[in-house]
Amino acid sequence: MLGKIATPVLAVCVFLGLWELLVWANGWPNYKMASPSDLPPAFWKYRELFFTMGWQTLWRTVAGLMLAVVFGTLIGMIIGFSRLARDALYPLLIGFNAIPKATLVPVISLIFIGQHDFNTVLMAFMISFFPIAVSVGIGLSTLEPEYRDILRALGASRFTIFRKIALPKTLPEFFGALKVSATLAFIGTNLVEIVSPHGRGLGALFKSGETNGDYPLMFAVLIALAFLGIVLYYAVIFLERIFAGWAEREGG
């Protein structure tokens, strides 16, 4: 247990040490690259902003992610159960996912003018539902027929089979996708926060650091984002342990 916490903490310390060394050895000024020792003052100076902006970013990301879970699971169920829907929806889904989301920022901000919260949540959702939809779809469509037959032979309804067998059996794939989606959702949130004029959240804080030439602040924001990403990732792992812990093998 100690090793489980000590190992990653040590790894982070080594990383910060190497970073400090790199900046120091090259004699870079902090407008070229800030060093870890520049960060604590930056965090302290803007501590209130970090809390309020960090909260903005976090809740909008989580809201977008939750939408992605609901919508992605729904799409996954549709393409998992119906061949026709699969053939029809796959090109649309892949096409939509292939569009760089940055190009959608001006589009949605024109459709929903001034709805900054809504736009941000929407972007986090749009960028993160795809992995969930695909993996739930694959999980359901590759369910071995015998699994269905053991209940179907007793006259169980399709919904019962889904609830008792297909859904729990897909959970490991679902959580695998959710880990990818959680980090993607942050990208979506920040995209809107950075690009929108008068945005809020950590992305906007980054932007203001850039505008004011406050380079340590920019790096501090990146670290804060990384931190939030890690927190959300471990939250997903926590849920996975509860709902799909059975899929984990001992040892290894």
Binding site: E144, E146, Y147, D149, I150, L151, R152, A153, L154, G155, A156, T160, K164, I165, P168, K169, L171, A244, W246, A247, R249
Partner: protein, 253 residues
């Protein structure tokens, strides 16, 4: 009855004028060449598919849809990894008898687990059990709701020879304790003779009933019965029939 699958190359007849009758309470073993339509037969009996022509009757009722009085076990034990062995065995009761009190479900499941020697493993996950134990649990699940008809699609096919023989004996004991009519699909002639009251040989695809043998061995069989001249004679006859079914005919090579 007859049945054909619709494939890209047109209709693929798998069963053609197949007639099988299994008297209530007896054990029928169905053997035949690979791919002759044995698994299709199980799906028709279970009501998972409808025959193109002909009818399936179980206990005086025509089968048109799945029914609660059927139990199934396959070569793959298909246990649910997220449930304990006990919860896996209980699963059919959740569908068939949703109002049955939990204590009675557990009692019934434990009764079966005891018969197959899995007491002490009821709280384990399927992944913690050996292949033979998983298949035992799967048999318990197929019987937990006291089905009239038990359909076994090569349940011992993937096990090693010794484990398989153990499970034959388990199956024999279950039969003594539980009143069901059984249809066993198998590739193993010794298995068919040891467990069956009659052995039905199907022809190559499309399958017809080629040969029916009444197994004239004592009710209470031990594995030793397979080494008697009587059993040897039956196995010989069955082997010849399988060769004919494969289209290779009579004489030994």
């Amino acid at each position: 009855m007859s049945h054909a699958y619709k494939t890209k190359g047109g209709l693929l007849p798998v069963l053609d004028g197949l007639e099988v009758a299994v008297p209530e309470g007896t054990f029928a073993a169905v053997v035949g060449p690979s791919g002759c339509g044995k698994s299709t037969l199980t799906k028709l009996v279970a009501g998972l598919m409808k025959p193109d022509t002909g009818e399936v009757w179980l206990h005086g009722e025509r089968v048109t849809a799945p029914r609660k009085t059927v139990g199934m076990a396959f070569q793959n034990p298909v246990l649910l990894e997220w449930r304990s062995i006990l919860e896996n065995v209980i699963l059919p009761l959740e569908i068939v008898a949703p109002k049955m009190p939990r204590a009675r479900r557990v009692a019934r499941a434990m009764e079966l687990l005891e018969m197959v020697g899995l007491v002490g493993f009821e709280n384990k996950r399927p992944s913690e059990l050996s292949g033979g134990m998983r298949q035992r649990a799967s048999l318990c699940r197929s019987l937990v709701h006291k089905p009239e008809v038990l359909i076994l699609d090569e349940p011992f096919g993937a096990l090693d020879a010794f484990t398989r023989e153990d499970l034959w004996q388990t199956m024999r004991d279950l039969r003594r304790a539980e009143p069901f009519t059984a249809v066993l699909i198998t590739h193993d002639l010794r298995e068919s003779v040891f467990l069956g009251d009659q052995v039905i040989v199907l022809s190559g695809r499309p399958a017809r009933t080629q040969y029916v043998m009444d197994v004239d061995l004592p009710e209470d069989r031990t594995l030793d019965v397979l080494f008697t001249p009587q059993a040897a004679g039956m196995l010989h006859t069955l082997r010849d029939q399988i060769k004919i079914a494969q289209g290779r005919g009579g004489k030994d090579h």
